[in-house]
């Protein structure tokens, strides 16, 4: 479902006493949190403390050992695919295809009907329409994955190191896009080593620590 720039309906995503285990000691246990419209959550912590795992749990790409995860949209329980967009640290683009070909594919999947060139203009890749993905820099691929996020138009953004590899303008762009998303009633959960600053928005910080 695409909201075409309109305000998102009410939604929430919550963890209740969630424990995640990869076979050894639990990565975290009894984690409870909830995300509401307009909220920006910054996941902080050293490498290996579970930032990415929280994002993947939220996206339904991991299952918890214990606890309950719920996704609610417009008053109904829903699957994560209706509620979240996930920007992982992987490129998830096909190197031999061009930017235009990849975005056209995702536009068809997400019923995105706006001109792709306008989207590329917005993310600073307007001259790369015919470029193959394999010729793009890491920062340009990061911008491209933001384009897919905008196409998906889901209320909850899950961003894993969104500023990685980006120049100063790119980092500003990410913050502007997040601010616009929050203004539409969306929410974002961001795992990042770099600070996230959105003017006029309070950032909820969640500090993850290694178990001693």
């Amino acid at each position: 479902m695409s909201y075409h720039g309109a305000t998102f309906p009410a939604f929430s995503m919550s963890f209740a006493s969630v424990t995640l285990d990869f076979g050894d000691a639990p990565l975290f246990s009894d984690l409870s949190l909830s995300v509401q419209p307009g909220q920006l959550i910054w996941l902080q912590g050293k490498n290996g403390t579970g930032k990415t795992s929280i994002l993947r749990l939220s996206a339904g790409l991991l299952r918890p050992l214990n606890g309950i995860l719920s996704h609610e949209l417009a008053g109904f329980q829903t699957g994560p695919e209706k509620l979240v967009s996930y920007q992982s640290h992987k490129d998830s683009f096909e190197p031999v295809l061009t930017v235009g070909e990849e975005l056209s594919f995702w536009a068809e999947l997400y019923d995105y009907t706006e001109p792709i060139i306008d989207l590329l203009h917005m993310i600073g890749l307007k001259d790369q329409l015919e470029s193959k993905i394999q010729t793009l820099s890491a920062g340009q691929k990061r911008r491209l994955s933001m384009a897919r996020l905008l196409m998906a138009d889901r209320p909850l953004w899950l961003l894993d190191e969104p500023k990685a590899g980006l120049d100063f303008q790119g980092q500003e762009l990410i913050e502007t896009l997040i601010a616009n998303h929050l203004n539409r009633g969306g929410a974002a959960m961001v795992a990042s080593h770099n600070p996230i600053k959105i003017i006029g928005r309070q950032v909820r910080k969640l500090l993850l620590e290694t178990r001693s």
Partner: protein, 218 residues
């Protein structure tokens, strides 16, 4: 689904190493088989169907071994699952792409293989028919094994172990159909059984492969 298929075909067109490797393997396998039979015309003709069938099976196995790995490693599957597309569409798209880019070239070169193996044109046509009728079953079993083993390394041997019990009946009915083709024509019991096996294989393997693939998305 059409968007997925179009994308998969475009990737194969841009990066043809996969289907070219499979075709080259097929040609090399048949050449070595022919040399091993001392190039005796009668023995070559007798063994043509067996050689072509073995070459087809191994070529398909090699091509399908890592068919899902690229998408898993790049995170493409994760994004697909979050877009709401189901694993069934992914599997069907890969099957059709495999049929067009791997099996069709093999079918096209079978008449040339017939010349190498000194077979009559009618016998070559019979072998082509058998591969055409049996190929959906081969592709279905290959894709099921590939989905079960997706994301793991060095899976070629395991793929053969998993698929072999299912592929043996396909080979038996294919060779029986080829043997009857000259007398009875293409609608003989061997080919009928082959069509039946292909339908059953597709019906079972597509949802099973989709279920196996879904486990990689969690």
């Amino acid at each position: 689904m059409s968007a997925m298929l179009f994308r998969d075909l475009r990737i194969v067109y841009r990066d043809p190493r996969g289907w070219l490797a499979s075709l080259i393997f097929f040609a090399l396998f048949l050449s070595i088989f022919a040399i091993a039979l001392d190039g005796e015309p009668e023995r070559l003709a007798e063994n043509a169907a067996s050689a072509i069938w073995l070459g087809t099976i191994f070529s398909l196995m090699i091509s399908f071994e890592n068919i899902f790995d690229r998408d898993i490693q790049t995170g493409h599957f994760e994004q697909l699952s979050l877009s709401g597309i189901n694993a069934l569409s992914i599997v069907v798209s890969k099957m059709i792409t495999g049929f067009i880019t791997i099996l069709l070239p093999i079918l096209i070169v079978i008449p040339l293989a017939g010349i190498l193996f000194n077979t009559e044109p009618a016998a070559s046509a019979g072998i082509m028919m058998s591969v055409l009728f049996g190929a959906p079953a081969l592709i279905a079993y290959s894709i099921l094994s590939a989905a079960l083993l997706a994301g793991q390394r060095n899976t070629g041997f395991l793929m053969i172990l998993i698929s072999l019990p299912f592929i043996v009946p396909v080979i038996i009915f294919a060779l029986s159909g080829v043997a009857s083709y000259a007398e009875v024509g293409f609608w003989n019991t061997g080919f009928q059984a082959l069509c039946g096996i292909s339908i059953i294989a597709l019906t079972i393997s597509i949802p099973a492969a989709a279920a196996a693939l879904s486990t990689h998305l969690e």
